[in-house]
C-alpha cells in the first residue's frame, strides 16, 4: 500500500447511488425488532409516580396500599435507589464555569419539575404497575416554581439549588473586533430586534424504551434500549451502578427515530437498570406519550436581543446579541444543557465575513423539564437570528436580500478560514449554493408572482437563509471535556466462507439508513454485490468501540472507518489471492464477488473459493502465509474541531392576514454535505429535517402555565406537521468533499432543521413588510401573526 486510499482509486457502483435500503422492506413487513417487541422470561414492567408539581418538597411516601396489590413485585423511592446508584452531574470541564447539582434517578427530598420520576413500581404487567402507582400517596409540599426565564435571575426569585447563589448555570461572552466602534461609525445603520424561540421536543414515533436484564451469577447487565450511543450508555451504567464496563452490554436494535432525544441519561431508564440489578429479573420500561412529552428532553427556548450594523453599501459591520435560555432544574448528563447556547454563540453569523462580534449567553435553571441536545442543536436559533438580521438590514437600506448575501457571504475561495468566533472552516460553498438556489427557485419569476399576488390582495413572501451546520465533530466537542463519549468510530469488515461480507460498525441506525450506507461503502470499496453485505450495528458486544450516530457524524466518521476497513480487507484478500494464483496482488482486483485481473477483468477465483481455501483447506497454502480475512479500522477527525457544511434554503409562503395562517407554497434546499453516499437517503434527511424545522417555525411549542404545569402533553395539542402540512421540498446539492477524509462525506442530518425556521421567518416577514408588521417569535402561530398585524 502506498499513499492514502481514496474512493477515486477505482470507480464503484454504489457510493453516490440511490440504492434502496434493505431494512425498509423488513420494517414494512412488520419484522422490525423494537425494544417493546422484546419479551423475556420472568420479565417485569415498570411504571413511575411522577411529580405533579413543578417544585415541591417530598414530605412522605406511603406505599402500603400499593405494595399489597396483586402483581406488584417491588416499589422504590428516590432514597431507595440512591443506595445503589451513584448520582450524576451534568458538567464538562471545557464548558468553563458550567455548574449543576447531583441528580438521582428518582427525586430525593425535592421534586424539581412536573414529570420528574419520584417512585418506581415494578409489577407483573404495566397495567398492574400503573394501578399500584395510583395508590401511592406522596405528600408533596409545593414550593414556588421558577418558570419565567426573564425573572429566573432576579433577587426575589427562589434559588432551585441551595448550594448555589443563583439560578445561573452558565454564562459566556464571545467577543471579536470592536463592535461598539463598528456600530458608531458614520453611515452605519444599526437595527435591533428581539427573537424568541419556543420550547420544542423531538417527537419520536417509537418512545424511549428500555429492557434491562441482570445476571447476578456473572454480575452482568444487558440493557436493550432505543438509542443512539450504546458505548456511552455502557460507561454510564457501569459507573453509576457499580459494574465493570465489560460487564455491561448495551444493545440498540431497530430504533423508531431519535432526533437527539435518545442520547441522554434519563432517570427512569437508570432506575429500570437498577431495578433489574436489585431484582435479578428483566424489567421493561416503555415511556408512554404523556411521559414522552413531560420527560423527553426539550430544546430551544431562547430569548435573544440582537443587533446588526450595515453600511449604506450593504456591508455588514458586526453582530451583537444577548441570549437568555432556561434549561431544566439540572444540566443534563453527560452532554450538559449548555451546548445549545454555546453553539449559538459560536455559529451566529458564521456564513458571513464579519469582523466585529459580541455575544453573551446566560443559561439558567428553571422548574421545567430538562433541556438538552435535540436535532440541529442551536442551529435554528443561530441561523434565524443572523439571517433575520441580514434580511432586516437589507430591507432597511433598500437592498435585495440576495444581493446583501452576495456582498457578505464568505467567498468560496477563502478557505481555510476562521470566523470571528474562532470556528475553523474549510471546503464550503456559500456562493455556489446561493446561485444554485436562485436558479432552482427561479427567484425573479417568484418576485414577479409575489408582486402580482400583492395586487390581488394576496400576501406572499420569499425568505432565504444561508447557513452552516456543525457535523463530524472531533474530540473537541465532548471528549476533551471529560465526557465518556467517543469521537472516533470503528468498522470491521469480514469475508465469510460463502463469499459474503459481514460488516459491523459503532455508529447506529435509528431509521435514517445508516446500515444502508455502511453496506454501500463496504460493497463498493471491497467489490461485492450490495446484497452480499450483512450489517451489524448497535451492540457494544459485537461492534467496534465508538460514539454512535448523532451530531451528523455517522456517515462522515463511521462511513470513513468503513471505507478504510474495506480497503484494508481488499488488500489482505488480494495478497492471499496472489499467493493462491501465483501472481501479483497489484495485478488483481475484486469485482462483484470475484477476484479478477486488474487489466482485462478476466475472472480468476471467486471470493467464496478463496475464503473456503483459507478457512477449510489451509493445508493448500504456504506455511508462512497468515491469511486475515477480517480488517478493522478506526477514524476520527483530527485537523478541525468540526467539519462544517453549508447550504442555502428558501421558502415561499402565503400569509392570510385575516386569520394569521401561513401556507407554505414551496420550499427549496441546496445543501453541500460533501460526498453524497446515497442521494435518496440524503434528500430524505434534508426533507425530514425541513419538516422538523417547519414544526419549530409554525407549530411546535411546549406550553407551561405560571405554575410550571405543561399544558400540551398529547399529540392532539403538541402539533407536529403532518403530511398535509408538508410542501413540496426541492433538494439540490453542491458537492465539495471534505479534505479531512478519503470518503469526503460531511453530515446532512440536521441541515433542514437548522435552516428552515429562519427561511420561513424571513418569508413571513417579507409577506408582512408592506403592512409594517413583523413576527420574530417562533412558532409563528396564527395569533402571533394577527398580533403583529395589530388585528388582535
Amino acid at each position: 500500500m502506498s499513499g492514502p486510499r481514496t474512493i477515486f482509486d477505482k470507480p464503484n457502483r454504489y457510493i453516490g447511488q440511490p440504492e434502496v435500503r434493505r431494512d425498509a422492506k423488513r420494517l414494512l413487513h412488520g419484522r422490525g425488532q423494537y425494544v417493546d417487541d422484546l419479551a423475556l422470561p420472568r420479565m417485569l414492567h415498570a411504571a413511575f409516580v411522577r411529580s405533579p408539581y413543578a417544585h415541591a418538597k417530598i414530605l412522605s411516601i406511603d406505599v402500603d396500599e400499593a405494595r399489597v396489590l396483586p402483581g406488584v413485585v417491588a416499589i422504590y423511592s428516590g432514597a431507595d435507589l440512591a443506595e445503589s446508584v451513584e448520582p450524576y452531574v451534568g458538567v464538562l470541564s471545557h464548558m468553563v464555569g458550567l455548574r449543576s447539582a447531583p441528580q438521582h434517578p428518582l427525586a430525593v427530598d425535592t421534586a424539581r419539575w412536573q414529570g420528574e420520576p419520584v417512585v418506581m413500581v415494578v409489577a407483573q404487567s404495566r397495567a398492574e404497575a400503573e394501578d399500584a402507582a395510583e395508590l401511592i400517596e406522596v405528600d408533596f409540599d409545593p414550593l414556588p416554581p421558577v418558570v419565567d426565564v426573564e425573572r429566573a435571575l432576579d433577587q426575589d426569585t427562589p434559588v432551585i439549588h441551595d448550594q448555589f447563589d443563583s439560578n445561573l448555570a452558565w454564562e459566556r461572552t464571545v467577543e471579536a473586533g470592536d463592535i461598539d466602534a463598528a456600530f458608531a461609525a458614520d453611515g452605519v445603520t444599526v437595527i435591533d430586534k428581539r427573537f424568541t424561540f419556543g420550547r420544542h421536543t423531538g417527537v419520536t414515533l417509537e418512545p424511549r424504551a428500555a429492557v434491562a436484564e441482570f445476571d447476578p451469577s456473572t454480575d452482568r447487565l444487558t440493557f436493550h434500549y432505543s438509542g443512539q450511543a450504546p458505548h456511552m450508555m455502557q460507561f454510564i451504567f457501569a459507573k453509576h451502578l457499580g459494574l465493570r464496563e465489560d460487564n455491561v452490554r448495551v444493545i440498540s436494535r431497530d430504533v423508531g427515530g431519535s432526533f437527539g432525544i435518545k442520547i441522554h441519561t434519563y432517570g427512569d431508564e437508570v432506575a429500570t437498570a437498577a431495578a433489574a440489578k436489585l431484582l435479578g429479573r428483566p424489567v421493561k420500561f416503555i415511556a408512554d406519550r404523556m411521559e414522552s412529552f413531560t420527560t423527553d428532553i426539550h430544546a430551544r427556548d431562547h430569548i435573544i436581543d440582537a443587533k446588526i450594523g450595515v453600511t449604506e453599501e450593504g456591508k455588514i459591520v458586526g453582530i451583537e446579541f444577548d441570549d437568555l435560555t432556561g434549561i431544566g432544574p439540572f444540566s443534563m448528563y453527560p452532554r450538559t444543557s449548555a451546548i445549545e447556547a454555546n453553539q449559538i454563540l459560536n455559529l451566529t453569523g458564521a456564513p458571513y465575513a464579519i469582523e466585529n462580534y459580541r455575544a453573551t449567553s446566560r443559561v439558567v435553571f428553571m422548574n421545567k423539564n430538562m433541556m438538552c441536545q435535540y436535532r440541529a442543536v442551536g442551529h435554528p436559533v443561530a441561523m434565524a437570528v443572523a439571517d433575520g438580521l441580514v434580511e432586516a438590514a437589507a430591507a432597511a437600506i433598500g437592498m435585495d436580500p440576495v444581493e446583501i448575501r452576495r456582498k457578505n457571504l464568505l467567498a468560496d475561495d477563502c478557505y481555510p478560514t476562521v470566523t470571528a468566533t474562532g470556528m475553523k472552516l474549510d471546503d464550503l460553498s456559500h456562493h455556489a449554493c446561493l446561485t444554485k438556489l436562485i436558479e432552482t427557485m427561479d427567484y425573479d419569476a417568484l418576485r414577479a408572482d409575489q408582486a402580482a399576488a400583492r395586487k390581488r390582495g394576496v400576501h406572499r413572501g420569499i425568505g432565504l437563509i444561508s447557513m452552516v451546520e456543525v457535523t463530524n465533530p472531533s474530540p473537541m466537542f465532548y471528549g476533551i471535556g471529560g465526557a465518556p463519549i467517543a469521537s472516533q468510530d470503528g468498522a470491521t469488515v469480514r469475508l465469510d466462507a460463502g463469499g459474503g461480507l459481514h460488516v459491523s460498525s459503532s455508529i447506529t441506525e435509528q431509521g435514517q439508513g445508516t446500515n444502508a450506507i455502511l453496506a454501500q461503502i463496504a460493497a463498493g470499496v471491497f467489490g461485492v454485490d450490495l446484497d452480499r453485505v450483512r450489517v451489524t450495528t448497535g451492540d457494544t458486544e459485537t461492534t467496534p468501540y465508538g460514539g454512535g450516530t448523532w451530531a451528523s457524524r455517522g456517515a462522515g466518521i463511521g462511513g470513513e472507518a468503513m471505507l478504510q476497513a474495506a480497503h484494508a480487507l481488499k488488500d489482505q484478500v488480494l495478497e492471499v489471492a496472489a499467493v493462491i494464483l501465483q501472481g501479483k496482488a497489484e495485478a488483481l482486483d475484486i469485482v462483484a464477488g470475484k477476484v479478477v485481473d486488474a487489466t482485462g477483468g478476466a475472472e480468476r477465483i471467486t471470493l467464496s473459493d478463496l475464503a473456503r481455501t483459507v478457512y477449510y483447506r489451509g493445508n493448500e497454502l504456504p506455511a508462512d502465509l497468515e491469511p486475515e480475512l477480517v480488517a478493522t479500522r478506526h477514524y476520527r477527525v483530527t485537523d478541525f474541531p468540526f467539519v462544517f457544511t453549508n447550504g442555502a434554503m428558501a421558502a415561499y409562503v402565503e400569509v392570510d392576514t385575516e386569520t394569521g395562517f401561513t401556507k407554505i407554497l414551496n420550499f427549496w434546499a441546496v445543501e453541500d454535505c460533501g460526498r453524497v453516499i446515497n442521494p435518496a437517503l440524503v434528500d430524505e434527511q434534508i426533507r425530514g429535517g425541513v419538516v422538523q424545522g417547519i414544526g419549530g417555525a409554525l407549530y411546535e411549542e411546549v406550553i407551561y402555565d405560571e405554575d410550571g404545569q405543561q399544558l400540551n402533553t398529547s399529540m392532539a395539542d403538541y402539533l407536529v406537521p403532518m403530511a398535509a402540512e408538508m410542501p413540496d421540498i426541492v433538494v439540490k446539492h453542491v458537492e465539495t468533499p471534505t479534505k479531512t477524509s478519503a470518503l469526503g462525506a460531511k453530515g446532512a442530518g440536521e441541515a433542514g432543521t437548522g435552516g428552515a425556521p429562519g427561511a420561513l421567518m424571513n418569508a413571513i416577514n417579507d409577506a408582512l413588510r408592506p403592512m409594517g408588521a413583523e413576527v420574530t417569535q417562533m412558532p409563528m402561530t396564527p395569533q402571533r401573526v394577527l398580533r403583529a398585524l395589530g388585528v388582535v
Partner: protein
C-alpha cells in the same frame, strides 16, 4: 398509559345495553376514538364498558317524511358516502372532510361525538345549525331533546347517565335554505381554532364551535343574517361567551369567529353538497 380495570359488556340489543346503563357507572363504547384514549389516560374510569358495536339497528340513515333519522352508531365514513346526507343534510356533507382523518372517520360515530360534546368538535354545531333533535332512551322510556338544549358545557350534555343516544333526527331543510360551513384548523383534520355552521332560510341558525366551552348559537348574528347583513352579523358576535385556549386568547377567538362567519357566508349556497 393503561386503563384501570373495568368490566366489558357487549350486548346484542338496545334493551340489554339500557339495563347495563341503568346499573350505573357505565361508559358507552361507540367508535372509541375519544373514550379509549381517555380511559388509557385514566381520565375516564368507568366500572363497566358497554360496547354497542354488536347491536343491530343502531346504525343507518333513513328518510322519514320531512326528516332524516341517523342511527347513533352511524360512522362518519358512512355519512360521507350517503346520498341522503348529501341531499338533505348538506351541512354534514360539507363538514365531513374537515373531521379528523379517514382512519378516525372509519370508526368514529355521530352518536359518540354528540354524547361526548367536545367543544371543538364539528357535530354539535352542525346539529344546532340544522335544528336537529337527539333521541335518548333509557329503561324508563324515550325522549327527544333539541340540539339547542342538549349541549350544556364542556363535555356536558342533557343526557342522563342511564340514557343512550340512539338517534339523531335532522329535519330536511326548507327549499332555498342557504348552508355555509367554515373552520380554521392549524393542521388538516385537527380540532378547529374556530368554526361555524350556518343555515339561512325560513329559519336562520348560526352555530359556532371551538370558540367556547361548548357549541354556541349566535342569536344577534342570526337576526342580522336573516336580512343578509353579514357586516352586522359579524358585529353581532360581541356578546358570545368566548373561551380562550392555549393558542388563542378571547380576542383572537372573537376575531376568528368573525372571519369564519364571513367565509362561511361567502361560501354558502342552496341545495345539496357543494363543498
Amino acid at each position: 398509559m393503561k386503563a384501570p380495570d373495568f368490566r366489558y359488556e357487549r350486548p346484542t340489543d338496545v334493551e340489554a345495553a339500557l339495563a347495563l346503563l341503568a346499573d350505573g357507572d357505565a361508559a358507552v363504547l361507540a367508535g372509541g376514538q375519544s373514550l379509549m384514549p381517555m380511559m388509557n389516560f385514566r381520565l375516564a374510569r368507568p366500572q363497566v364498558l358497554v360496547d354497542l358495536n354488536r347491536i343491530d339497528g343502531l346504525a343507518g340513515i333513513a328518510e322519514d317524511g320531512e326528516a332524516l333519522r341517523i342511527g347513533a352508531m352511524t360512522r362518519y365514513a358512512d355519512l360521507a358516502g350517503s346520498d341522503l346526507i348529501a341531499t338533505y343534510a348538506p351541512l354534514i356533507a360539507r363538514a365531513l372532510p374537515h373531521i379528523a382523518h379517514p382512519a378516525i372517520r372509519n370508526r368514529g360515530t355521530i352518536g359518540g361525538s354528540v354524547a361526548l360534546a367536545d367543544p371543538a368538535a364539528e357535530m354539535p354545531a352542525l346539529l344546532m345549525a340544522m335544528g336537529a333533535q337527539i333521541a335518548l332512551r333509557s329503561t324508563s322510556g324515550m325522549r327527544e331533546v333539541a340540539a339547542d338544549d342538549f349541549f350544556l358545557g364542556l363535555y356536558e350534555t342533557a343526557r342522563a347517565e342511564d340514557e343512550l343516544v340512539t338517534e339523531i333526527i335532522v329535519p330536511k331543510p326548507a327549499p332555498g335554505t342557504r348552508h355555509g360551513f367554515y373552520e380554521l384548523a392549524r393542521r388538516h383534520g385537527d380540532y378547529a381554532m374556530a368554526g361555524v355552521a350556518l343555515a339561512v332560510g325560513e329559519a336562520v341558525r348560526v352555530a359556532f364551535f371551538a370558540v367556547s366551552d361548548h357549541a354556541l348559537r349566535a342569536p344577534e348574528a342570526e337576526a342580522a343574517l336573516a336580512s343578509g347583513d353579514i357586516d352586522a352579523a359579524a358585529a353581532g358576535l360581541e356578546g358570545l361567551d368566548f373561551h380562550a385556549d392555549p393558542n388563542a386568547d378571547v380576542a383572537t377567538k372573537k376575531h376568528l369567529a368573525g372571519v369564519v362567519l364571513r367565509r362561511a357566508w361567502a361560501g354558502s349556497s342552496t341545495g345539496g353538497n357543494t363543498a
